[in-house]
Amino acid sequence: MSRVEHATRSSRIGVALIGVALIVLALAPFWGDRQMLRLLAEVFTFVALASLWNLLAGYAGLVSVGQQAFVGLGGYLLFALVILAGVHPIVAILIAGPIGALVAVPVAALIFRLRGAYFAIGTWVVAEVFRLLASQISVLGGGSGISLPAAMVVAMAPSRQAREFEIYWLALALTAAVLGTIVALLRSRHGLALTAIRDNELAAQSNGIDVTRIKLIVYVLTGFGTAMIGALIFLMKLRISPDTAFSVNDWTAFVIFITVIGGIGRIEGPIVGTIVFFIMRQTLADLGSLYLLIMGAVAIVVMLWAPKGLWGLIAERFGWQALPLQRRLVLAPKTEEPGERS
């Protein structure tokens, strides 16, 4: 019998490698120092944010430059729930997700009226509205922001080390959950539709795919994930202000550059891009604003000369895929391993 298969040999190796990497990373508190844990946790949050943006822009064609709306929303939800309602920070992060999704629905209803690039700027307007509203909330410090009270932080775990381990594992778990959800979505029935939309939206539409519905699902799901990661980011920072929470540079520019450099429309792209981004940051950080300028230039160069990003170059050169996402038809007589590509 013929059947549809996702895995290739490289993706089987990929999955095995990812499993090993996850175990190694989960054990990081036992082999890495405090500095390393902080850096890794930050890397995880960027992998998650970039993967979510990649799902949105790379697959669903919703090029948003306003995802900082949901990062900031998540951050503010964390502070509001912890400070105003006395909720445990980890519970607050979990609550931030569904609220993010809930907020995404009316936002989508509004900005889905805009097409293409105008949609992009529309998302930015929404983020600006969120930022301006946040600066009106005086119980959360208004325009100048607020810190998470020490008592609440201590309540998380008795020792500083235990707290740091907890946050690190939380970051790893959330990022793994985000990536897992995206992979599951792409492997589902919706995944095929999404890939069709990515490749040719008009053709997808005329083949009976309800493009708007799928885009809405992706937008809401992304709002869910982004708000949760936002809450996590500000639990790590312990301080929030409208300008940091809704920063277009931190939560959108970097995230877009990461995805473009790594490879947009590919699940591996954001991971590769984040690694490149952090290497660049560690080596160029002394340059100050010049470093951002270089990032922008690199992204432009990649967009024009290697539009599929670094992972795209690698994947095309070697036929690799790290995660079993492609569907391949395996014909009946060939029960053996059919090789790299069919």
Binding site: L110, R113, A117, W124, V126, L132, Q136, S289, L292, G296
Partner: protein, 289 residues
């Protein structure tokens, strides 16, 4: 009563500035379906060019337009020919991401060169001259000049579009790029001319912005958003619509600010979102092409 009249009048006059932000954006979208995310940063760049020109030559800001407008137009032509033409095609992502990258480059380049300090251009006595239109209602000379210039810029663009060979080429290229090429139009050149014109308008907007308020390298994105909101409120592809859009935005902000200074920008965004909700095609939609 006269207090509110003053507020609304202020809003109308600043609306002219917003319309100038919008006109350049609308122009290039109309001709080549490009949305330039770096639009606001280019406005700020124009303000810095004016700063350098006024300092180097010791002339007043409005006179500096003689230099700033051609300089920006040349930058626009070069930008389109050298970079943005390569991003145009069926895929939406390249122009968007490249202009986004450009926005980051301009912002940080300006930051590196001019620092984050706030600057302002001094236009001399006309800045404070006002006259009374009726009892208790005053108009500043500078805002009035700025509004008149905005209206003239829009009338000029309108005329250029419908009465000149270049405008004809813009509309033909917007209609059907392939056939425009067949008729001997080099669309790379036509697009570059559109961007040059867009940046010429940006130059005027940038100088008036710099005379009116303090500016620093980070204020570009907000100007992009104002321009964008004015375009959508007025209706895509309608030049006079952008003036109305700009005025509505300006008046909303002025009223918001009068109620509570923290509500100035918020009021503008909310009116924009409300119009988007009830009339997504804008108030006066008319798409050439």
């Amino acid at each position: 009563m006269t207090e509110w009249l003053n507020v609304i009048l202020q809003g109308v006059l600043i609306g002219g500035l917003y319309a100038m932000f919008a006109a350049g954006l609308s122009l290039i979208f109309g001709v080549m379906r490009l949305v330039n995310i770096a639009h606001g940063d280019l406005i700020v760049l124009a303000a810095y060019v004016a700063l350098m020109v006024t300092q180097a030559l010791g002339i007043d800001p409005l006179t500096s337009l003689i230099f700033v407008v051609p300089v920006m137009a040349i930058i626009g032509y070069a930008l389109q020919r050298g970079l943005l033409n390569y991003t145009l095609g069926d895929d939406l992502l390249p122009p968007l991401l490249v202009t986004f990258g450009l926005s980051i480059i301009i912002q940080n380049g300006l930051l590196e060169w001019f620092t984050a300090d706030s600057r302002k251009l001094q236009a001399g006595p006309i800045e404070i001259q006002t006259f009374q239109v009726m009892h208790g209602v005053w108009i500043g000379l500078l805002p009035l000049i700025q509004f008149a210039v905005a209206a003239a810029v829009i009338a000029g663009l309108q005329m250029l579009f419908y009465k000149t060979a270049l405008g004809r080429a813009f509309r033909a290229t917007s209609d059907d790029q392939a056939v425009a090429q067949l008729m001997g139009l080099d669309t790379r050149h036509v697009f570059a001319m559109a961007m040059a014109l867009s940046l010429a308008v940006i130059a005027v907007a940038g100088v008036f912005l710099a005379v009116r308020t303090n500016f620093d390298p980070a204020i570009g994105p907000a100007r992009l958003i104002f321009g964008f909101e004015a375009v959508i409120i007025g209706g895509l592809g309608n030049m006079w619509g952008t003036l109305v859009g700009g005025i509505i935005l300006g008046v909303s902000q002025a009223i918001g600010a009068q109620i509570d200074p923290g509500w100035q920008l918020l009021a503008g965004h909310i009116v924009f979102l409300a119009i988007l909700a009830v009339r997504p095609q804008g108030l006066f939609p008319k798409v050439w092409g």
